[in-house]
Amino acid sequence: MKVIPSKILYIDLSRRRFWIEDRKELFEEWVGGSGVAIKLLEEECPKNANPLEPENPIIFAVGPFTGFYPIASKTVAMFKSPLTGNLGESHCGGRSALAIRMAGYGAIVIKGASETPVYLAIHGEKAYFREASAIWNMANSYTVGRILRDREPGAGARTIMRIGRAGEKLISYACVVTETYRHFGRLGLGAVFGSKKLKAIVVSGRRSLPLVDPKAYREIYKEIFTLLVESPSMKKYHELGTSMNVNPLNELKALPTRNLKEANFDEAEKISGESFAKDFLGRRLACAHCPVSCIHLAALRMPYDSEPYFYKTKMISYDYETIYSLGSMIGIGNPKELLKLLDEVEALGLDAISTGVALAWATEAQEKGLISINETNGLNLKWGDAETYLKAIRFLVNQVNDFYKALGKGIEYASNIYGGKEFALAFGGNEMPGYHTGLAAHLGFLIGSRHSHLDCAGYSIDQKIVATGKKSTIEELTEELINEEAWRQILSSLVICFFARGIYKPELIIKAFKPLGMEFTEDSLKKIGRKILKAKYEFKVREGFKLNKLRIPERIFQTSAPAGEILKESIAKALSLAEEKLTNLP
């Protein structure tokens, strides 16, 4: 017996029908998560599909370790991205993964579109199409969560995914919020929800999963659990969270600041993980089935303007990436102002990274006279001016004029119209993450299948170069990035949170598969990883992606990076090498 997820829940929003299919062979060959999702995307997404038409499917997939092992706590979403026009892939924790598996599924496929606002309630084997007109256009995504929490059963064993106004307005980088503080953040899943008039999805279930060898399972579980709890890197994620990286990256001069005009922020200390922990940390939380609990919430006490002694205290989630994008990248060094921006972005359901980078580009464009108050709707965007940025975010979500409509399609699009391409910090159409460490980081953004720092972790290669002074050749660098991304396909198919990548090494994964009745070798796992990466790359190529056509923002050559000067020739060479390697992946 092999214990693997096999059931897929199909939902057709157009006809309001659902059915369940057993696709065991698909999970056997492609593991789960990213592997299964890319195959389902190939099956369901027609070539050249419009990302915002009913033909674009949404795929959610969990993996064989979900529900079995700690920190296998993420769900993979795949879709065609409205932001980049090709592969959309976004990962989210919260309770999403456990809830989907406990409801009985390895994957959920959502097709078609509803004519009127709808939310889906999936409780075990039943799916319900529920009226969502009353929660459509609600100002705050927190409120939508609160209402569904009260209306639906399954407390404690459920996920509540929802979009905010940004998704309804089809902003290309709208996110899907789950459990209020976790997100399918990047590449615009929120807009795909919005285009389907799908406001939210609730999933719940409470089942058991059989085992081939319960005794071996308990032993390996304990081993993994102990490794996780005692690991120093996990302890750091628990104590300060990802924001522990603000100070070190700033000291390294790798923290993108004011649209990467600089890579060092004079006010970084005030928005560092240490400062937030000291002055604002209100609660730490974990995703379901994770002992680490890296989620950090700040408690912000805010007065009402209307009368004295009248306050509300809000809990606001912060992370390294959001501190970079809505902090240093737009020159915000006041932690309270930064938290207000984070809160607004959460309420409206925007991807915080893309939003911050878009505001940074707009600020510089206005500084350089490419746009004026006619475009910004009367605003003078200035580094560090949070009040004005708050207004701009609302104008953006309300799509008040042509400029904000263009900005809502991402800065690749907006800079095509208004200029300023040399400082439009998007890679493959996706706004940049917070690492200006060197060549490897930027190469990773370019060749990674999601154009994210998480694809191949180039920043970590750069940091090694800084620490050891040992440089790699372009060939070695490209090889290393692609090998890393290929291996990560296994982690994101199981689906393990990347924070535990140092613990879930091949030997441990092989051992953990045994009580589930499955045998792998390190070679066979790595081969599947390459196969998944190849399938993702082929999907991108099918949708018109070309590595050698990528625009490279001039700015990255102008601002010095700690791992050494970034040369145009090096990038050009690496891109052609990457194309050859990705095309010929075995």
């Binding site: 456990l98 404690g156 503080y181 058991s208 319960p214 919430l297």
Partner: protein, 115 residues
Amino acid sequence: MIACNRRFGEAGVAKSSIHVRSAGGIERGFIVLVCRACIDPPCMKVCPTNALSKRIGGGVILNSSKCVGCKLCVNACTIGAIFWDEENEKPVICVHCGYCVDYCPYNVIRMEEIS
């Protein structure tokens, strides 16, 4: 939850006798629902078939063969710490083995002798 279920030789949460849910959104923190080993357990008093008997040290022991699945015990538990096994149509009742305690890295739950 998952540790508890593991005792039954299965993964998942269906047979867990400990349950965690948010206190109205995770920003308010979490509530751990678990049997507190009442000295005079209300669940036992309402059982029509005497399937529940007093456990030494507090709480109750379930005799599954006597249980008719009426759910009265679930409703009688003031703190909501009796759960339902949908697969077997029987209550899930904590046996106070303490297995879960080892898997709570932040010492939220612990074992205590009741005298």
